[in-house]
Symmetry: C2
Subunit: 392 residues, 2 copies
Amino acid sequence: MNECTPVLNTGLRGIQVASSKICDVLGKQGKLIYRGYSIEGLAEKASFEEICFLLLYERLPQKKELADFDQSLKNKRRVPENLFAFLRSLPQDTNPMDVLQMATPLLMQTDANAGKEGMENTLFSAENLIAGMATLTAAWDRIRNNKDPIPPDNSLNHAANFLYMLNGKKPDKETAHFFDTCLVLHAEHSFNASTFTARQVASTKAHIYASISAAIGSLSGALHGGANVRVMEMLKEIGSIDKIDGYIKDILDKGGLIMGLGHAVYQTDDPRAIILAPMSKRMGELAGDTLWYELSKELEIRGKKAFMERKQREIFCNVDFYSASLFYSMGITTDLFSPLFAMSRVSGWTAHVIEEQFAMAAPEPSLYRPGAAYVGDYCGPDECVYTEIDKR
Amino acid sequence: MNECTPVLNTGLRGIQVASSKICDVLGKQGKLIYRGYSIEGLAEKASFEEICFLLLYERLPQKKELADFDQSLKNKRRVPENLFAFLRSLPQDTNPMDVLQMATPLLMQTDANAGKEGMENTLFSAENLIAGMATLTAAWDRIRNNKDPIPPDNSLNHAANFLYMLNGKKPDKETAHFFDTCLVLHAEHSFNASTFTARQVASTKAHIYASISAAIGSLSGALHGGANVRVMEMLKEIGSIDKIDGYIKDILDKGGLIMGLGHAVYQTDDPRAIILAPMSKRMGELAGDTLWYELSKELEIRGKKAFMERKQREIFCNVDFYSASLFYSMGITTDLFSPLFAMSRVSGWTAHVIEEQFAMAAPEPSLYRPGAAYVGDYCGPDECVYTEIDKR
């Protein structure tokens, strides 16, 4: 009865749905490229603010431009007054990702042109989202712990200010730098699920706040943003080096997966994992507990070996494998891992919304409207006959 | 530098991304099928409650089942206490779709198992969303107009109770019946943009409240849920029968489109438009003003003729063409058209979330993760070189 042949493209793997100038992921070579620049150079040298500029404005800023952009973000750190009241009205055990999804559109209230068309308005909103989501994330963690939100400190950069608003004290230089690098590493990754959600919502001409809220919802899923949380849970379950082999055997016997190993795109170690591993080690040293790094390292070595022996193929670290122990060593609660991801990735999401709405290579804008193969009932050669309720 | 050949599937038209048992749309024949039943029979005989049961539980209910389901929805009409306080804290000009996107996840608070895995929990949440979104929509319209929300009246069915909560008086029988039929007609339409958004968010294992909130964001776009608003704006702009020809000429000269004519899937009149047209006429009579119906009817006839003359091809009415005048004749403000669409389509969205999470035909669950063709810079044969900021 279907009009089309049902050739399913489940999960859309390998289906190119758009052209984009934002990011390239070269799975075979293990390369991640933001607007032409490889992640290794950016992680070493660029700040998160610089990455935001690069993603939104399509090139690296000059000194004056970066200073102006930085000031513009700082001007947007304060959030609408009724936002804190809203957060205080929520049950304290509300998941931070749910809070972020609900409350992010409230940032519209400090954006006079929110929802109005035009690229300049949308860029303003993008900056407002980048600045505001950090404040919102920190504020919710304070409020749920019966503490008052801490006003932003504009002497600090985005990364350091977030840790200050979260913890109430300024971070040491090394921790602040590591956190900044984490934001750089998580900023963008082409058409992953949440980015695709953001673009899809934007493709209907919905405004950027609606798009970003939807993307947060997508990131909240256990298969997406929740992955490094599950890595951390796994590390805690293992608990000590001598239990690694048993854990690996158990999980592979059950046909399960080792969390943080394997990726839909990379066929080599994720370049971000390679950068994160030594950061995790050093952060463990700073925190006086290197157990989580050591567990991760041994699990990587033995897990890869076991996987090869069982399945005769290689498996590789993804970004979540070392970010888990790194964030944990920074003293960050596991249920904040995904919100941190979101407050970094919002830079990429907003760049994609702008590209979708203002710079699509396609001849005209159109919303994403795929097909589906109907495999349901027809109760015979024609459609089912509606029978009156008394006769069912 | 790309690893794949860039064969773009812009907008995903014609790409089948999943198999589904929920809905079939036969574009050539102009048929819309919910779980095997054609829309004509359902619109004539079934209530919205029955459609919700059909979509969620995969078959028409027996009498006792429908009564139980109806009671279950009624039990969920009351919303969390802090929801009204939240609505009162919003600026009165906040768009109802933004309010709905933000506030819908608050319905989690009256759902003890919200976010927990399992199909039974998710079905409970689906019912909670169907019942709660109606209350929320009516409450926001009251609050923004400085009126108190009206508690639900459980002697009324879903459609009549919504109009009661909105207007503060019980609707006459014919209006209530028409509104019920509108909910039936808008309940489901396969993988349109918002449904695809809901499924995509659900595919990450995000919970159903996150998925539905995201879908509302998608529906809020002018190209999607906003279409019948634009039809109404067009009808108001035309204003009288004698201005129709001039309007059509102007818009076609400019290469524009007549709102409400044309659809991505149907190659004939949308079966829902055929059902809505006489309802719009009758509702105009009831309201004592048939202008909007008459304008629509003449615009349809003359617009189709002009389109054929100019472009040598037929164009057809879509669902938005007559729903605009129908809702308007019911006295509903245009910026509530999309929320009404949402409070009907939530039945389809929730059915799709459940199918995505519990009944996918694919061998294993996977999130939607498409590709994109990178067409950005590489500054030469290899990636761009990061230059220090002072040297730019």
